[in-house]
Structure formats: structure tokens, C-alpha cells
Symmetry: C3
Subunit: 387 residues, 3 copies
């Protein structure tokens, strides 16, 4: 496998310090580490295509905690864990005694005695998901330091209120594969834009994840949304800084058309307004149904003003040569297919449908690579043996 | 293991073309392939009895989709997958985002990135279960052809509206084991007959599966049911054709006694009338509770006319030497045990109870054999190494 | 690994007859077998600390049946099964066809075709949990004897109405580790005492398990509870006999302070009164909500009389040097943390919090050791190879 050799040669040039570390936000990782993650992901893809096993554990558990419904992330995590040799054990909070008054730090240790990884999805409450992940990480660190746990499982963010790193890394893999290399992303324009959806309350983590990652590679990142649909200010600031450092561009505009103009890549995707998410959290916590209904009504009425934020053939014509790469984390709200009117027209989606499947297809390998890099002292040496 | 050697010698004489193929209906497989399936199943049983592993995968997922409650099929599938080295991952449609507007072809790919097999049970709606399986199969085929999937998982029918191949193959194993060989089935009379049950709406797939498979071995297959309880006409036609070709007999009668007369094997089992199932589908889809209640009432009233369709000691006396083999897919409605009056008397069931357990016991091995034959290019060579 | 060698040398001196046997009550096992179980558990801990695999199965299922919510036992069982190489398959009674009239003996066989172990938690109904486990055990024994099953899975009690052996064995491991050896437990005073909780209906199995096990090691076991909170008389009798035989002491007192006086170990834990549990069973079975509410009210009113049965700093001062080891099976009702007033004060719990986590940490290894000793003919030989 010559490809493997090439990838490993590249990997050896990078300085990585990921052993024993969690993966919570892409912007907490160095450029070398992100780069290495793309290379390890590619190694695992190569092995899988050749039907070679990349199992590195004989036994061990991969714990998943999903605080929201999920198909693709659930299966991506299960796929990654299984491929590495881990058994998946889901902490179903309804079946557990958590409601009986257990604390996070207690539960985290109780489930982790034989765990190598804890994958968490918690994207409902603004200000809480990532915090919860850090509480779990702190708890297992204490458990490990104090002799409760024989090994320290790594925590992997499977989507939180701030970032969705397994998604944005899969997106990066898609871009790397499409353009040929990370270097070739330099100067390419990506339009991360809000799009209309008949539902409300979709998390901000996807657009935040995309601008928080793509600004590191010298890309021309344009974020577009209608008034009131801003993202977490800190993340915007991070994107801005990274963009400056990488020699790229970062712009915020208020028109889908403007964002699409000359774009190499478009990522039209609905999300809830930051302010609505802020209002929603206390209502959800109180279980205030009337309040939630009222907020939903208000929000949907507001959404409806922006039905023209749809990625259709006409807007695609504005992109570079009319042939920008369309991206989506799936499932998309497709006009006339999954809803009357949505994020993308049927024609545009169908043209790029298989491309979006391939984009999603990187996710299991990204997750496996994250675990591998967090749990093996010398992942590169291990890959060399497998190749 | 001499038995293994014998089985493999037999296997080598057969022409099989099952690699990369789904298992959706037994009558889509050639006689040689069905024969081979019984031999591979026996090989796996032999290995398991000797406590030898027949694991062939290092890692990989077995996806299950159950659209109806299930114990034995669920555990049979999990057992088979585990024995082959696969991790089981259940697509729980309630926990997934399917309700959020995903299409079958999208979901099928999203769950299949590392899947070797997708097992589906969908037996509720007449005209839909098998169709759904084919949609999933088409989707993963497209995904594989278009580079979305690195491997093409096989789809295994774990019960649909038309056939229940893992059950009917387990039934065939039971018959082969009881009579000594497939050849010895020639001329044996099997009575596949309707029986009374206090419930309604049981799927047609078991009787259809039995007549669709046993007519291929020169058996004298007699189907019996009260007026109005007919099966899907196409399946009846298939059974008739196969029977003619195999030199057996296929008869439809309207009396349990007539079917039992001189029978070597009896399979008394309740099912819903075809016409009722046809009416039920649109009601279920609309969620028309009143309509469903009304239909149930009507149907149970009709059922009640046939309470004498019970497999009791008196009717068993009509069978060959009064000692026909009793078969059931379980759970049976046992009079005085699981209901006031049902499909079979307590005495008859108890006499054959362990036999029905053994019949069920073939199912995990049948499923494992199906997967093995669909996923390995040369399953016989692999078995030779294990033996 | 010198520790392993020492443990194995000790193990070889013991006479054990655990192959093919279930683990249902600790007092059904000989002293040698309990001793061996602690040694095997320690071997597995050593191996795990050294990150050496103790996988002994290539494939096979570990079936779990939980009739009550559970986090730690569920994960402990999954961890143990996974570490031994088994896949976990949960019998979710809601998703299964059990409600459709299956009998225990039928279901037990249907799920067990490839099972090595069946772990059961059934602690709700007094007089039923342990009985149910024996029914399952009898069913798989019959299945094995009659050729339905190729192997006879062992049944492991994951908590019943009588005993909680995986917990009490983890507790014993904690004591052995704390005091240095089983021999050093001789003469040590352990106070197993009732404590106040704002909830009601907690099972009796933990205190029963503790007095049923610790009386075998010459310990001074003091059981304390307010009037009306007695345990199953048979278990008390067993504890008394064992205590006499082992040269220890067994006393029942009616004051937490008296029990704590001079104690080396305290185990303050709420449980429901035996008589209430007796009344509760028929109400639960009938689904008599009003009756249950009434009983709960009555019982909580009674509980409230004993709010001073809290393990606080003042009472801890009464123990040996004020420094008794605090134990709990978790989750504890901690005053001011998980409830207004509960079993233990915040300060006491926090002091021993990590100790209770370590106590819980023995459970996966205890369960793995139980399975290993029940399923391997010569577990000691196998451990020697691993060491």
C-alpha cells in the first residue's frame, strides 16, 4: 500500500501531543494535530477499503451518551468503536439511576472502569453541552489520579452547544479529498450560510464548527445569516483570529446571494438564532411547555420571513463556474421532498446527494482516528505495522 | 471431525452463487443454494457443539432493523452476528432521526459504512415489508457502486409480509434432522394448517414461507384454512409450480382433519385473513384507531367461528401412526396455558415442546450460514480450514 | 508479575467446584470458593492494571435481564462480559414478545443458544427474584440435557430479593484490600445499619448480602435497624449460624449509635421494612396504584420518625478512633446534596467518596471472575498462562 507509506511519511513530520487528551473543540488542537488527524483518518480509510482490519484493542468499552436523538452520529461512533475492537455500551439515561440523584462525577466513574472512550452528544442547551463534557473529563481524570480507574478514557465531543468536531473534521476530509490537499484549500471561498427550514431550534454547532475549523487553512470563509441569527460571539472571535493568522479571509454578510457569489463551496444549513437558544434553555429546564410553544411560534413566524434563503439552482449559478461543491451534515430539509419548502431545492440536492453521503462517510473514520490518537502512545508506529 | 468432512464433500458438489447476494425469499435461490445452506448450517452446528469458534470477521457491524417486537429473531440474529465476529447495532427508529424526514436510501447508507449485513424484520403491512428490504438493498448497492461504501453489506430478511426465510430454513433443518436427509422428505406429508387464536393480525409469512420452501423437496404439502383465510395468491402459485417441478403434491383443503389425515408432519398456526391484512394496512398508516378496533372486533368474531381448529390429541390420532411431528415457530397459543383456547392443546404441545425448542435452535446457525455465504467469496474453503 | 504468581499459588491450595454452576447466593458457595473468587478477582485486577487482556472467549453472548433500572450493575456486567470476549445482549422485556404469553422456560432457551452467561437483576418482589433465577437455571439445564442447547450458560444473580452477591463480593474485596487479607477481618467490627432516606421501597438485598457474607470471616457483625425494619428471618438465621461457625459475633441492635460504637467499618444504608415489602408485592402485581400510594404514604410517615438515623460526623466519632471505613453500594442519599436529609452527611460522604468509588470498582472484576470460574474447567491454569 503505497498510499499508506506516503501518509505515514507525512505523519512522521508532525509534532503531535494527543495521547491521553480529550477531543472537545477543534480549536484546542494545534495545526499539526489537525493535520495529523486528517492523515490518520486517510490511513484508516485506506485500510478499510483494502478490507484490512485496524483493530487495536482486544477488549474494552466505548461508552456513548446521547442526550438527543441521532442516527448517523450514533452509527458512526458504533462503527468506529467496533472497528477498533471496542464494545459499545450506551448510557441510556432513562434506564439508568441518574434520575435517582447521581452526580455527574459519580456516574462518570461508575461507567468508566473498563472504558477507553466516552463519546457524548449534548447539544440542546446553550452554555451546557461542552461544560458537561468537561465535567465528565474532570471526573474520570480524578478517578484515574486517585486509583479508581486503571486507565483514563478519553472524552470525544459528538456534538455540543459550541462545536461539532466529528462533523467539521468529516467536512474538512471532504474538502481535502475534493481539492486534493489541505494546501489547496488556501484562497478557496466557502459560504457557510443560514438556510430556511420549517423547523426551529436546530443547534448552532455545525456552522460554528465549520467557521471554527475552515478559517485555519487560509480559506476565504463567508458566514451569512439574516438579522438575528448570529452565532456565539466567542466563536466568531476565534474564527476571526484564526483567519488572520492563517492568511485567509473571514467575512459576515447578510445575504445568501452575496455569500454564494464566486464561492468554491457552499454549506447552506438552518440554525436557530443565538438569542432564541438563550431564551429556550431556561424554558426547557423548567419544562415550561406553554413558554416553549410560544417561543416556537414566534420563532417560526420570524423564520418564515426568510423562506427565500433556499439553496436553489439560481443561486448555485452565482458560485464559481456555477459548480461550487454543495455540503451538508444531513439530513437536509429538501424542498418538495422532506418538507414543502426547505434549505435546498430538490434538483440541487439530487445533484450532490452522493457527495453528501461521501462527506458523511468520513465520520466513522474521523472518530476512530480521534480515539486512536488519544489512546495510543505511538499511533504512527501502530499504523506503520498495519499498512 | 468426520461429520464436517462429509458435509464439506457434499458442499463441493454444489454450484452456488451467493456471494454479494441478499437473502430475501427462499424461492429466489436455486435448489443447490438451499441445499448448500442446510449443509453450511450443519457445519456451523457441528463446530459449535465442539466449542470451536467459527468467527470469520475480526471487526464489522451487523445492523438490525426491527419494525415489530421480537425475542427469538432478535437473539438469533445477535447470536449469529456475534459468532461470526460482528458487533450488533440496532437501528431503533424511535431514537433515530428517521422521523425527521430521512429517506430510506439515505439512512441505508448512513448506517452501513462498516456493515457486513443488515437484517430487517418488517411484517406488519402487506405489500410493504419485502419492498422496503429491496429499497434498502438498492440503496446500499448504489452506495457501493458510487464509492460511498467500501463494501456492500448483504440484506437478510428476518420476516416480511411475504416470506420468513430464516424460520422456514430452520423448519427445513428440523425436517432434515428428523427424517435423516432432504431426499427422505420426498413423499412425506406436511400439513400446514391454520389454527384458532384469540389474537388477530398474525402475519402470513410463516405459512407462506413453509409452503414456499417445502414444495421444493417432493413433499406432499397440504395447506388448510377456513374460508376467508387464504394466503397471497402469488405465493400459492409459486408453491404449486415448485411442487409440480419437484414431483411432490400441493393441495389446499378447508378442514384441519383432512389435512392431518395420514400426515407425517403438522404445522398448526394462526394467521390473519389476507383480506383483513389488506384492509388493515391503510388503517395502520392513517393511524385510524377506531377503524382498527372495528376491524379487530369483526375479525375476532370471525375467528371465533373456528375455535375447533385446535391441534388436540384427537386430531393428532389422525396423523401417520398418530405420531406426526408437531412443528411451530413459537410462541404458540397453548390452550389453558397462554390463553383459554388456542392453536394447540396443552398435552400435544408438552409432548413436542423440546422438539419445537430444537427447531428454533437452528435459527441462529441458519442466519450465520446465510451471512457467511453472502459475505465470503469461498465459504467452503473457509469451512474446510475450520473443520 | 510477582503478585499474580502469589495469587495463583494461593489459588492452587483451594478446592473449588464451580464449573457449570450458577452464582445465586454467596452462602451456597464453600469458604474455599469464596476465597478463590477473591483471588481470581485480584488476578483480573492485576492484569487490567497492567493493560493485559484477560479475554478467554473468542465469541459468545452474555445475556442480561434487568427488571429494574440500573447504571452501575448494567455497566459492570457489560464491562465484565466485554473483557472476557463476550458480546452483551440485553433482553428488553418491553421490546420482546414475553408479554405475548411466553413462559420463562421457553424464553430462557430461546435466548441462550449461544450464551455463556445470563445475568439477572430482579429485586422488586419479595419471594420472587431468586425464584425466577432458579426457574431460568432449571430451564437452561433442561435445554442442555435435552440437546436444545450445545452449552449450559451459567446464571449470575445481579441482585435479587434475597442477596446481591456481586455487590457483597465487591464489598468483601474492599475490606480485604483495606485490611490487607481475609484473615485480618477476624474480630473487626462492621456495622450494617439502616439509615434514613426520603424514598421508600429500597430492596433488602444489600444488608442481607452483607450480613450473609461478612459473618463467614470471623467478623463482629452488628446489624442495626429501627423497629419494624427487620430482614428476611431465614437470612438472619444463616448469618447467625455462619457467625458461630466462623468464631465471629453477630448481633442485632436497635440504635445506630450502638452499632457504630467501636466499629472498624460502617455501612449505613436505607431499606424498606420486610413487612412493607410483603404487602407491596401483591399491590405491584395487581397494579393497585391507590394501594401503593397509600402504602408509600404510610411508610414514608414511618420512615420520617427515624430521620436521626443519619451517618454524620458526630456518629463517626463513636467508631474506632473516629476513623471507621465508610461503605456504600451507591448511589447514596447524601444530605444537602441529593436530598434534603438522607443516609449520610455531606462531610462524611465527601471524605469517603473516592473510597466508595473504589469499592464499586471491584464489581466488574468480581462478575468477570464469577463467569470465568463457572465457565472454564480449569480457571487457574488459564490465569497462569495470562500472568
Amino acid at each position: 500500500m503505497n498510499t499508506m507509506k506516503k501518509l505515514i511519511t507525512e505523519l512522521q513530520k508532525l509534532k503531535i501531543n494527543t495521547f491521553g487528551k480529550d477531543f472537545l473543540l477543534t480549536w484546542e488542537k494545534t495545526d499539526d494535530e489537525i493535520r495529523a488527524l486528517t492523515l490518520v483518518t486517510e490511513c484508516l480509510c485506506e485500510l478499510h477499503k483494502a478490507r484490512k482490519s485496524f483493530r487495536v484493542f482486544d477488549t474494552g468499552l466505548a461508552i456513548s451518551i446521547f442526550r438527543d436523538n441521532s442516527t448517523r452520529t450514533r452509527f458512526s461512533f458504533a462503527s468506529a468503536a467496533n472497528a477498533l475492537g471496542l464494545g459499545v455500551s450506551d448510557l441510556d439515561e432513562e434506564k439508568s439511576q441518574i434520575a435517582h440523584g447521581e452526580t455527574v462525577r459519580e456516574t462518570a466513574n461508575m461507567i468508566a472502569f473498563m472504558a477507553e472512550v466516552i463519546g457524548i452528544r449534548d447539544d440542546m442547551y446553550l452554555g451546557e453541552g461542552n461544560t458537561y463534557m468537561r465535567e465528565v473529563a474532570t471526573a474520570v481524570q480524578e478517578g484515574f489520579d486517585q486509583g479508581v480507574l486503571h486507565q483514563r478514557p478519553c472524552v470525544v465531543n459528538l456534538q455540543c452547544d459550541i462545536d461539532h468536531p466529528t462533523q467539521s473534521m468529516a467536512d474538512l476530509m471532504q474538502l481535502k479529498s475534493h481539492f486534493g490537499s489541505l494546501e489547496k484549500l488556501r484562497g478557496k471561498k466557502i459560504a457557510m450560510t443560514w438556510a430556511y427550514s420549517p423547523s426551529y431550534g436546530k443547534p448552532l454547532s455545525v456552522p460554528q464548527g465549520v467557521i471554527g475549523l475552515m478559517t485555519r487553512f487560509g480559506m476565504d470563509v463567508t458566514l451569512a445569516y439574516p438579522e438575528g441569527y448570529g452565532l456565539i460571539p466567542d466563536v466568531i472571535e476565534t474564527a476571526r483570529k484564526q483567519s488572520r493568522k492563517s492568511g485567509g479571509k473571514f467575512e459576515v454578510v447578510s445575504s445568501m446571494e452575496e455569500a454564494f457569489a464566486g464561492a468554491d463551496v457552499v454549506y447552506p444549513k438552518s440554525w436557530a438564532p443565538y438569542n432564541v437558544m438563550l431564551k429556550r434553555t431556561p424554558l426547557l429546564k423548567k419544562g415550561d411547555r406553554d413558554g416553549l410553544k410560544h417561543l416556537e411560534k414566534e420563532c417560526l413566524a420570524n423564520n418564515a420571513k426568510y423562506k427565500h434563503w433556499e439553496c436553489d439552482e439560481k443561486k448555485m449559478k452565482l458560485t464559481k463556474g456555477g459548480e461550487a461543491l454543495y455540503m451538508h451534515c444531513l439530513p437536509a430539509d429538501i424542498s418538495g421532498v422532506s418538507c414543502a419548502q426547505g434549505e435546498v431545492s430538490k434538483g440541487v440536492f439530487e445533484k450532490y446527494r452522493l457527495a453528501t453521503y461521501r462527506e458523511a462517510g468520513f465520520k466513522p473514520f474521523v472518530i476512530a482516528a480521534m480515539i486512536l490518537m488519544a489512546r495510543l502512545k505511538d499511533p504512527v508506529a501502530r499504523l506503520r505495522k498495519m499498512g
